[in-house]
């Protein structure tokens, strides 16, 4: 199969970017979207054109590295997938496919489709952990956690840190990402002692790093590849309010 790929090219963080359109041929029907880009890159290199830079690694939807805006949607036209789990069978042969990097001032472009997401690491460094030292833990079964609480915590913990929520939000808000971590830990007894401090610190860091505010449009939930829901944002808000009162 053949496609036209209209893709964002940007030499580096300082350069001005622009769209280029390339024709890609010989794409198998079962190919994934990133395999299509591999094929295109192979064809570009042979023509003496610089290949398109994009982040990717595990190619099975769990590392969270891939981060493409395809035809106007974060991770492209399929639900609950990362870009690497998007398959070419979703595109009509001969179609023109538009590919852009995440667009958010908190995620500056490094090159082409690669963005800098270290802001996410910084938010987690502000408080996205339980302070426990290796060696000091008691027996795992000494902390009983009801089955449903563990499952709910796991729902939030499934976040892969890809940034689709930020990229798709008209405000560039990182609320779903922050909520996933705060909620996952707040649901567990182990996470309670630091819950207030965590919610305050992570929200403050998110604001400081230039992410926008949440206006409950639910766009983040729609594009989250791991189906993290805005229920967790509600829980973050509760935790945050509680934290304010406990100050």
């Amino acid at each position: 199969m053949e496609y036209n790929v209209k893709v964002w090219r940007q030499k580096n963080a300082k350069a001005k970017g622009h769209f280029e359109t390339y024709h890609v041929t010989d794409v198998e029907e079962d190919a994934s979207f990133l395999e299509m880009l591999d094929i295109l890159n192979d064809q570009l290199i042979r023509k003496g054109i610089e290949p398109i830079a994009f982040d990717h690694d595990c190619r099975e939807g769990i590392c969270g590295a891939c981060s493409l805006y395809v035809d106007g949607r974060a991770h492209g036209p399929d639900d609950e997938v990362t870009t690497c789990q998007l398959f070419m069978r979703h595109f009509k042969p001969g179609a023109t496919i538009t590919v852009e990097p995440w667009r958010s001032s908190a995620f500056p472009v490094i090159k082409d489709l690669v963005v800098d997401r270290t802001a996410f690491d910084k938010i987690l460094q502000a408080g996205g952990f339980i302070t426990v030292r290796a060696g000091s833990a008691q027996d795992g079964n000494a902390i009983l956690i009801p089955h449903d609480d563990a499952e709910l915590s796991m729902d939030a913990a499934a976040c892969v840190g890809c940034g689709a929520c930020v990229a798709t939000c008209k405000n560039g808000s990182a609320m779903l990402f922050v909520a996933a971590r705060v909620s996952s830990l707040a649901l567990l007894p182990q996470g309670k002692p630091e819950a207030a401090r965590r919610a305050r610190a992570m929200v403050a860091k998110m604001d400081e790093l230039g992410f926008g505010n949440c206006t409950n449009t639910r766009a983040c939930e729609m594009e989250c590849p791991k189906h993290v829901t805005i229920d967790h944002i509600a829980r973050l808000n509760r935790e945050y309010l509680k934290a304010r009162f406990s100050e």
Partner: protein, 649 residues
């Protein structure tokens, strides 16, 4: 007798006392001295992240490096099924000694006894640590931790978080790492790739790394270096490893004097989604946990095979009596839960005999119809829901309706850098942990044991043993990164990069890597023989020459350049592939994942040769283009009876 260059430093005395004995003899470093000591950790998977976090907690100055944009993306994240621990929560008579026994047996008696026992010994504390970090392990309705079974064992000792156990454990370790980064004890260098090890007066003192964003070649000094850089399975091009997983750090250490042990021991995982075409770049694993409830089969009749290949019949339409559940038939005691190497070879045997169920003839069924009937939709959904979804996304077939199709693929490498009991390599000051070392899994790793090893090494073993070395170093000044050894290493790195750009050929890096993959899979894959291995060595040599004549890497060093990254890694994969073939040629026995066709029983099972090969083969680099020298560490099993692996009764 073992080679004098390979001193394992295993403490004397009874097996169960060895680790306590070693810990009590390790010198500790006082808190004020720890602050003066610098440690470099390369890699942020389970091993690297847990080690760096623990060392930071202890008060050392740690620098941690990863090639991804965040430590959280290391390939441990993709481990699905679970982590083993000898907790005996199921009251099924599990114990440290049973986990130890299963691991040594599963590894076909080619791992180091004392290391494996210690692994089993600390396994329980890993679960406690992860629970305390907030890892949402699966729970029973009473709130207690849940377990499941994995291949090669008859107890339920595997802890899990849906099919995302590796992700959750890594996020736990990464959270601890973040805590230390916030505290200032650990400094993180994402998007940095180690390109050489710096050795001064015989001791590891730092690394040369490339900043992957700017292309800058940077120098980092330390009192000790820890490699937690994973395995080298991507030598085969197609594997379940992440695209950027590579063996380059291990090769750099090898060229600087670290011995490389048992390179030929690579694990081929039986349950992967079959290859669909020649443009594919990556194979996807379906967790081994699926074999708890899934049944593996192919048709008994060739005519059914033909119909399946032509899509004239659906697998679910083939009657029960015409199905060959070949694992249950051949290995009644373990059935579908035989170890990975056994299950992989059995699939190959059926497909070679012409019973492969897809167009390529390289696939078997993994069927959940019985499990859905027995357990109901809800419980199957809870256990495997995300794996079913993933399978459906990739293949557009629903495992709820028709069986999955699977085939073996390269998954893990048991071989790695040789380490002693302290996890120290043959270069003083250089340590290797997790998949990067060789010590715990012998010829075959059991499922859910990679996560266990990574975290055992990182949380509970390395942070103690490295102290013994550092206790002699706190009075030494900081490593001078302007020393001539750093100049030389940086110069060599720059020359290598320039040489790659200078080729200006016509072929892409991936197209050459694919050719290497074909050679490796054909001759150093699931079945190996003398003629094939010799041919592999020859072919790899030719391909390496072809690379240096025809490769084309666009752009420059001074920028974000993924083609350059891939080219640098491929140069090392040639050497790894050759070393694997050489080791496989030397090991004229079949054992674990290493199957020499010349050495098999009449039933086609592996035939070990304990008399001649009960040793670790550690290879010493002798210079470019020269044959490496083989050193042998004799393996002694004082606490376990050596038997032929039997999963039949």
């Amino acid at each position: 007798m073992s080679d004098p260059k390979l001193i394992s430093n295993v403490p004397e005395g009874p097996l169960k006392d060895k680790w306590s004995k070693r810990k009590s003899s390790i010198r500790v470093v006082s808190p004020n001295n720890k602050r003066k000591l610098e440690i470099i950790v390369v890699g942020t998977g389970l091993g690297g992240a847990s080690a760096a976090a623990s060392l930071g907690e202890m008060g050392y100055n740690v620098k941690i490096f990863c090639i991804s944009d965040s430590p959280r993306r290391a390939h441990s994240i993709a481990a699905q099924g679970g982590i083993n621990a000898a907790k005996n929560y199921q009251n099924d008579n599990d114990s440290v000694s049973r986990l130890f026994f299963d691991t040594v047996k599963g590894g076909d008696y080619r791992s180091r006894e004392a290391n494996v026992y210690r692994l089993a010994e600390v396994s329980a504390a890993i679960i406690d640590q992860c629970v305390a970090q907030g890892v949402p392990f699966a729970r029973e309705y009473g709130g207690y931790l849940a377990n499941r079974s994995f291949g090669g064992v008859q107890v339920s000792r595997t802890f899990y978080a849906r099919g995302q156990t590796g992700q959750q454990l890594l996020l736990g370790a990464y959270a601890s790492l973040n805590k230390e980064i916030a505290a200032g004890t650990v400094k993180s260098y994402p998007r940095h790739e180690m390109l050489d090890l710096v050795v001064i007066n015989g001791e590891a003192k730092g690394i040369i790394a490339r900043n992957l964003v700017t292309g800058e070649i940077e120098r980092f000094g330390a009192h000790a270096v820890v490699l937690a850089t994973g395995g080298y399975g991507n030598a085969y091009f197609l594997s379940t490893n992440a695209m950027n997983s590579n063996g380059s750090a291990a090769m750099q250490a090898y060229r600087k004097g670290a011995f490389f042990a048992n390179p030929c021991f690579a694990q081929i995982h039986p349950t992967c989604i079959p290859v669909h075409g020649d443009q594919q770049c990556k194979l996807t694993l379906m967790s081994e946990s699926l074999r708890n409830d899934g049944r593996i089969w192919v048709p008994k009749k060739k005519e059914d095979v033909e119909k399946l290949r032509k899509h004239q019949v659906k697998p679910s339409q083939i009657p029960e009596e015409d199905r060959d559940y070949y694992l249950e038939r051949r290995y009644p005691a373990f059935g579908n839960l035989v170890p990975r190497d056994v299950a992989s070879r059995a699939a190959k045997e059926r497909c070679d005999a012409g019973f492969g169920v897809n167009e390529t003839g390289l696939a078997v069924f993994l069927d959940f119809a019985d499990a859905i009937k027995r357990l109901g939709h809800q419980r199957v959904q809870e256990r495997y829901g995300n794996l079913f979804d993933m399978y459906e996304k990739i293949t557009s077939t629903s495992p709820w309706e028709e069986p999955m199709m699977i085939y073996p693929a390269i998954h893990y490498t048991m071989g790695g850098i040789w380490v002693d009991y302290d996890l120290k390599t043959t270069i003083p000051g250089l340590y290797a942990i997790g998949e990067a070392n060789f010590s715990d899994h012998g010829g075959n790793r059991l499922g859910a044991s990679a996560l266990m090893q990574g975290l055992a090494d990182g949380y509970f073993i390395l942070p103690y043993t490295i102290g013994d070395y550092l206790s002699h170093k706190f009075s030494e000044p900081k490593t001078d990164i302007n020393a001539p050894e750093f100049d030389e290493a940086e110069k060599a790195v720059r020359e290598r990069i320039e040489k790659i750009f200078a080729v200006k050929g016509t072929e892409t890096v991936d197209s050459i890597h694919k050719k290497l993959g074909h050679i490796m899979w054909e001759y150093v894959g699931m079945a190996r023989n003398e003629a094939g291995l010799k041919k592999a060595i020859e072919e790899i040599g030719k391909l390496r020459e072809e690379f240096w004549k025809t490769v084309r890497v666009p752009g420059t060093n001074e920028e974000f350049n993924q083609e350059l990254e891939k080219a640098l890694r491929l140069v090392d994969f040639f050497d790894i592939g050759e070393l694997m073939a050489r080791d496989a040629l030397n090991r004229r026995e079949s054992c674990g994942g290493h199957f020499r066709e010349e050495m098999q029983t009449e039933e086609g099972e592996t035939k070990r040769d304990d008399e001649n090969f009960m040793y670790v083969a550690a290879w010493e680099y002798k210079g470019e283009g020269k044959e490496p020298e083989l050193h042998k560490e004799e393996l002694k099993y004082e606490n376990i009876k050596i038997v032929t692996r039997n999963y039949k009764d």
